[in-house]
Amino acid sequence: MNHADCEVFAQRWTEAIVGTSYVAMGRHMLARHLLELTHQLVEGFLAAEFDPSVGRDVGVAMVEKHFTGTETLKETLALIAEWLPGLSTPAPPGADVAGRVAQLVGSLAAGYASALRERSLDEQDAIYRAGLRARRQAEQALAASEAKFRAMFTEAKLGIGIGDLEGNITDANPALQEMFGYTREEFTRLNVSSMVHPEDAASVWEVYGELIRGERDHFRMEKRFNRRDGGEIWTDLTVSLVRDEGGAPTYQVALLEDVSERRRLQAKLQYQAYHDPLTALANRQMVTERLDQVFAGPVSQRRVGLCFLDLDGFKVVNDSLGHDVGDQLLKTVASRLTRCCGPGQLVARMGGDEFLIIVEDTGGEADMAVLADRILSALAAPVRVGGHALTVRTSIGVVERPVADTNPADLIQAADITMYQAKAGGKGRYAMFDQHRNASEVADFTLSATMVAAVARGEFYVVYQPLVDLGQGTLRAVEALVRWRHPTLGVLGPERFIRLAEESGSIVQLGHWVLARACEQAKAWRDAFGDAAPLVSVNLAPRQLHEPSLVADVTQVLADNGLDPSRLQLELTEQSLLGDDAGPLTMLTKLYGMGVRIALDDFGDGYWNLPDLRRLPLRELKLAGSFAAGLQSPCNGVDQRIVRALVDLAHALDLTVTAEGVETLAQCERFQAAGCDTGQGAWFGLPGAAEQIDALLRGAHPLCHREAL
């Protein structure tokens, strides 16, 4: 029938409308689809009962497939109108062919048009709704984010402020209101420029200007502000510039964190690090830094002065009246000192009852003398503390010199030493630093300070001097004497350092060290020479007698060397036993009880206290060298009689007697005649190394007096 016709037509139709509308079909699919529509049309056209609505259906179907172009319709109508009348199958007899064609084409056009109109309206409606929905969603999202922002703004602990580019503040959150004490309304009447703090660095407002001009996007700094109530706050401030999409600056946002508390704490810690809590004066740390500053600056021509103060007898106040009174006293002294000083002068407490005043840019020693006098008179008035009127006296060491000639450490040391000179010179006075005097004191100071380390480094050694039995002519004992082989000063004798060791306290270590060496040597002799080995006599410094561990130490050393206590003699002077302390005597008694020989050294120098000889647990008396001098020929009979009387007395008390300082045969003979037991001195041998004693013991060198006898 018409099938072939239809295929041909559908093909032509496809060619005519392809590309005139967007449909989701390729050419092949399109042709198939149009073939279906063609059949529909042909069927309607040839129907016995003609119904033009077939055309309408086809028009609607086309729009459904998204044939929406007007060109599509035009082409379609023209083709159909041309082709239908020429179909190979004729229309039913009697049919009005032209009328049918016209009606079909007309109704297809109407169907297409109205479907397209519907479709367009639906799509318009849909897109309009989509627009509304999208906008509503965006508004909701914005509202949600604004609500989030608001919540953040109001809840934030951080102060947040918003301002326009002229600096007018437009909003401030509660945290910021709290921080500054302004209400929101008050803030909105403020301009950023009124937030200047007098101590802002110029750079603050420079960077702010750069931000406002859009030259930077943010800055952060610590800045001070004044609160509404006049108080001051420190903030960690970040200001950011907000730009629009085009990048043009639109407004500014400031975030502020109140860091006042942290700053206060820092300041407090800083203060504590540099101040003495009791007196609020500067402390040692501050002194160090201030002096460093003085010396860091340009030094030419500049001079600097120090006063080193120490309160005389402060310890007594503390011990007898208590620390509270002592503290009050220190506070009063501190405030009087502060009043004596002006700008460029720093008063510091160095610790205990020591104070230091640094004076910058002095004109010479005279300036410092004036200050020292002022201090002495300021402290002259008694200090009233808790019902006591305390008279404070102070010793002041003063140094003044060109900055270029010195350094902080030397300066303080000089002031310190000079202060001791003032004290030694009678207290309650000042001493001006004296270069010459200082030199020897500095030397002493250095010796004293390095002594303990020198012991450890093995710079000390022990020599031995023979004590010879005047009756037998045999070696009865040796006295251990200490020497210091100083790396730069050469060999130093005890007279150079024992006093310093006594003063510094290092005599305790040194004494113990000598004792230990001497006992080791005693053991060596004993091992080598048996009963012929000499007693070892070791000096005991007064300070050692106050060491509670003395008895234990001696016991230990003896035990370490397997020595019988009777092989050891300890020499001490009468001064050791002066004073009220019963400790030394108890200790001596114990040592004596153990069998250790106790010798009283240098007897006869200074004053004599004969009763002591009875009271003390002694075994030997050593007559000072001054007796030997008296027995030098031509002999003075009085001296000889005195020596004889002393020897008799000693013997009566069961003590042996050693004559010291025996230098000649004559002296030797006279002591012998006076009944002395032993002699010591150049006549018998100078102090020497242990090997020298070995030689004596081996008989290699005859003892001097033997030769003489």
């Binding site: 092949h28 627009g131 929905r133 965006a138 508004e139």
Partner: protein, 268 residues
Amino acid sequence: MERSSWASDDVDIEHASPARVYDYYLGGSHNFAVDRQMARQAIELWPELPLIMQANRAFLRRSVRYLVSQGITQFLDIGSGIPTEGNVHEVAQTAAPEARVVYVDVDPVAAAHSRAILAGNQYADVVQADLRDVTAIFDNPRARRLLDPTQPIGVLMVAMLHFVPDEAGPASIVGQYRKMMPLGSHLVLSHATHEGRPDQAGSHTDLYRRAGAPLTMRSRLQVETLFDGFDLVAPGVVFLPLWRPDSPADVDDHPERFTGFAAVGRRG
């Protein structure tokens, strides 16, 4: 965070939108007067535009069917535009009824309309996002519901990347997607080019630039570079009608007149 969530003025119907202008080219009425005005202007300057867009849609259909034939049943269609005849889910689901499609468009109106169209569709959904927010897209719950990250996926950027300027680094953006695509995944891409009709390109891009939706047309070489890390499926980067046409009859005598490049790459 979604890029658009802070701005309210991104729902803008006072200005023409590429999505709605495109709909007009395709004979749709999902558009407003501004869109139509711009589209008419564009067509006046370049009467073949509607045909080019049809060719683009035809490529889209063919590529989806090709992907399904390669066993891909999940699609991420980025820059999907306004739904119209022959949407990706329709094409895919005709071939594989359980195919899943996630549409992504930055245009809020397009996204809202897509959502309305897809209401009740179990296997398709839409995410409003910018192509550049790669992780935001993959992490979006709507996408996570439909896409299985362990299975190959078809990522479509059809007539979309020419809206991404060089400064935004289109190649590196594509690279980010590649990292998210399991082996066997495919990238479908069509892209405007000046190479077919150098005479038309200038006035057309000017018009889009003035409308606030600048276009960057790219050369074949540039389009090929976008496939770094993918194996181009035959016939490679070609003018739209030349990509695996359904029949030779569908190919015009002057395919270069359809001045867009089409290509599909496989991540192997």
